[in-house]
């Protein structure tokens, strides 16, 4: 070691160490920040509504990010699991950089103790399901390890707090207008933190169209080709389980109070009488959107997801065949399920 060695000159040593750690810092953190590809925005991206933003604040506060990710990777099985394969555009099958332009900070997470939530607004649009699930997860998903968040229902939202959040984000470039701010008191009036969290949850992934192909026109006269096909009925039951229909409608399609309706009683969308097989077919294929064509409003923000992208027409008819068979059984045994 020579007399002039840098290991004898602390100032020079510290300066050199700084330069060395700045190399990678500049190349991989600072320089990318200057490039437009780190600031993309999907067309028509809107900031969260005041209620959704309040929900995001609750999501952050409760540390949901510790167990849930919010990014669907471009992997085949993952795209299928989170129903990205329903998206009409191939690029919409997985999470896009441009969806997160207003996320201060990103909430992609690093661990999936629970499922990814990036597309939750498409996969589980049912607010009823989310209310029931947040209040008592195990009631809806029996062996879930998620904590109960019923206490959120007791916490009223404060307009001033939501406005402060919006103002803070506005200084960072999120386009909230004065009108948006002025509307907050009316929007959050009487709302709780649980309302906000549910609103945020069902907003996830909505910046990109990931809707399944809808049911289109409904012909209530269309017959079920598998009405009496025993193999198809068994297949229908298997499909009912495999697509997690039971998560909302119960193991035997008997419904769950406050979550999702009974599918084997004499009602349809909350009204009597029941409708023919083709109505069930339309609802499974097109989700709640099909309600309009059926002329029955059901619950206001009905949360039936569309399965037209996942299931063939034959598959859907098989499920309907099983539901009908189930209904017949219940009737024969004299105790219609649910009521």
């Amino acid at each position: 070691m020579s007399e002039s060695s840098i290991y004898r000159k602390p100032v020079a040593f510290a300066a050199l160490a700084t330069v060395v750690v700045l190399a990678g810092t500049i190349a991989t953190m600072a320089y990318p920040m200057l490039r437009p590809e780190l600031h993309p925005k999907v067309e028509g991206l809107k900031p969260l509504s005041p209620l959704e933003l309040a929900g995001r604040d609750v999501y952050q506060r409760e540390g949901c990010v510790n167990c849930h990710t919010q990014t669907v990777r471009p992997l085949k099985s993952e795209v299928v699991r989170y129903k990205g394969n329903r998206a009409p555009e191939p690029s919409g099958q997985y999470s896009l950089a441009g969806e997160f332009a207003y996320d201060h900070p990103f909430l992609w997470g690093s661990k999936r103790t629970g499922p990814d939530l990036a597309f939750e607004g498409w996969i589980k649009p049912s607010k009823d399901w989310h209310y029931a699930h947040f209040e008592d997860p195990q009631k809806v998903v029996p062996r879930s390890n998620m904590p109960k968040y019923a206490f959120l229902r007791r916490n009223a939202l404060e307009a001033a707090k939501v406005q402060a959040s919006m103002r803070g984000l506005r200084t960072l470039g999120v386009p909230y207008t004065d009108a948006d701010l002025a509307a907050v008191p009316a929007v959050v009036e009487g709302k709780t933190e649980l309302d906000a969290l549910v609103a945020y949850t069902v907003s996830l992934g909505k910046a990109v169209n990931r809707a399944a192909a809808g049911g289109g026109e409904v012909d209530l006269e269309a017959p079920n080709p598998f009405a009496t096909d025993v193999a198809a009925i068994a297949k229908g039951k298997a499909l009912f389980d495999a697509n997690a229909c039971s998560a909302c409608h119960g193991d035997e399609a008997q419904g769950q109070e406050g979550v999702a309706p009974n599918l084997i009683d004499d009602r349809f969308l909350g009204a009597s009488p029941d409708l023919p097989d083709a109505a069930y077919f339309a609802m499974i294929k097109g989700g709640s959107d099909a309600k309009k064509a059926l002329g029955r409003p059901g619950v206001p923000d009905g949360g039936m997801a569309a399965f037209g992208g996942d299931l063939s027409d034959d598959d859907i008819w098989a499920i309907v065949a099983w539901l009908r068979n189930q209904k017949a059984h219940e009737a024969a045994e004299g105790h219609p399920g649910g009521h």
Binding site: M33, Q60, P105, F106, N145
Partner: protein, 473 residues
């Protein structure tokens, strides 16, 4: 010699604080491990998993880790500069501020005040407090080095200087935010850019809080404990510069297959692979150092802490880069494999070296011998078994889980629901709690042994009937 006495009490204050927060952090780790398989163990709103996990991670990184860094950096700096601290009272103020800060941090996290950035959860008032604490450290370390009485700076001082500088840069940039209230702010960066900055920070917080400071301890306390000189000075030099150069390029390996541009991911993966070399530079140097006389493994109880510690560092720095590869990441990312990996580093490498360093320092600054080598051995085997059981269990279940997420039939339909994977985790999560109990028991033995050593030192000094004197190591 008495010049050191006041400073050593500050050093010991940091060590005892670190041990206290370490035990708290580990017990919280046990609680959240139970919450994973028993949701009824969540006590809303303050004691749910979502709020407690950051208390666990922050408590151990900032309470145990940074507390030990403060104390042991001061000890090493004084020894290597052959002089007391330049600002001893500042260090004492820092000790009290540090403990007050950790209490405030824990309370704020339980209240749900969080930036939602991993290892940077703390909100802006606490960020400011941490900056103040770090400046205090920098002033004392750099001041003492500038006024040193030994011309040559030894390897440990290089790592200390690099740590102080790099953490300052990382922490300030990643915590830039617009406050909207005392407990809430929005980070400056958004979306994909926010992710990139966060993992540049997150990975290097691991690099410069849980690697370089521990290497500083390793390079100082290994030769001190064993009496064997570091095998190769040249290897120390090459490993140091290449390590601190390469580390900063690698953060994006946490974002493989996310919407982050591919070129940043790929660059990070390449540098991550390269990082094996400097990491193993220190591993090899450690092995060859003890290799000069392997009988020390038997004759000196501390040697095995250092050798096992550096072994886990070696394993960690091969496993980590492997995980960065796309083909591995797509299987294990987001699974329980990851906590398995992290805990090998924290329980196997970081805690092992910190404990060994404390075992070396505490008897010396109290003018006595360790209370019980036998208990130190019990501690060693308990933490080793606990850590191996923890990590291996998590690796197995992580692979199982990743495979279940991927499994599809011939038609491309998924074989398993998400809940199938969760339910499959339960037996492994039970085992992890058991592993945590074993590890925690080991740490309790450690704390007991250290406290009894201090007591023994006091008793000896009282018996000698004189004012306490301090023995220089």
């Amino acid at each position: 010699m008495n010049d050191y006495r006041y400073d050593y009490r500050t050093v010991q204050g940091f060590i005892l604080s670190a041990m206290f927060w370490g035990v708290v952090g580990i017990l919280l780790g046990l609680l959240i491990s139970v919450q994973l398989w028993a949701p009824a163990a969540n006590f809303a709103p303050y004691l749910t998993y979502g709020r407690l996990r950051p208390v666990h991670t922050n408590g151990l990184i900032f309470g145990l880790g940074v507390g030990a860094i403060f104390g042991l950096f001061y000890y090493i700096t004084m020894r290597l500069c052959k002089r007391p601290l330049l600002f001893p009272r500042l260090a004492r103020v820092q000790l009290w501020l540090f403990n007050a800060g950790i209490v405030a941090a824990a309370v704020s996290l339980l209240l749900g005040q969080t930036q939602s950035l991993e290892y940077a959860e703390l909100e802006w008032p606490l960020d400011l407090a941490i900056v103040v604490l770090w400046v205090m450290l920098a002033v004392n370390v750099f001041g003492t080095i500038l006024k040193r009485r030994e011309e040559q700076m030894y390897v440990s001082l290089w790592y200390i200087v690099a740590t102080v500088i790099t953490i300052a840069i990382l922490y300030v940039v990643n915590n830039l935010a617009v406050p909207v209230s005392l407990g809430k702010s929005y980070p400056l960066f958004a979306g994909v850019n926010s992710a990139n900055v966060q993992w540049w920070y997150g990975h290097n917080a691991v690099g410069f809080l849980l690697t370089t400071p521990i290497l500083a301890m390793f390079y100082y306390f290994l030769p001190k404990s064993t009496g064997l000189p570091i095998y190769s000075h040249r290897l120390s030099i090459v490993a140091f510069w290449s390590l601190i150069f390469a580390y900063l390029w690698t953060g994006a390996h946490h974002l493989v297959y996310t919407p982050l541009p591919d070129w940043i991911q790929t660059l990070a993966i390449v540098f991550t692979m390269f990082l094996i070399a400097p990491s193993w530079g220190s591993v090899v140097n450690g092995y060859y150092t003890v290799g000069q006389d392997w009988t020390r493994m038997r004759s000196n109880y501390l040697t095995k802490f250092f050798i096992l510690g550096i072994t886990f560092y070696g394993l960690q720095t091969v496993q980590g880069p492997t995980q960065g590869l796309r083909v591995v990441s797509q299987l294990i990312h987001f699974t329980d494999w990851v906590p398995g990996h992290v805990h090998m580093g924290t329980m196997g490498w970081v805690t092992m070296i910190i404990c060994a360093s404390i075992y070396y320092v505490v008897p010396r600054i109290n003018g006595t011998e360790l209370y019980s080598e036998k208990l130190a051995n019990v501690h060693f085997w308990l933490v080793l078994v606990g850590q191996l059981l923890f990590s291996i269990t998590m690796w197995i279940t992580g692979i199982r889980q990743g495979w279940m997420w991927k499994a599809t039939d011939e038609a491309g339909k998924l074989e398993y629901t998400f809940m199938d994977g969760v339910i499959g985790n339960y037996p492994y999560w039970h085992t992890r709690t058991l592993a945590g109990i074993i590890f925690a028991a080991g740490m309790v033995v450690f704390v007991y042994n250290v406290l009894m050593t201090i007591r023994k030192g006091r008793a000896a000094q009282a018996a000698a009937g004189s004012a306490p004197t301090t023995v220089a190591a």
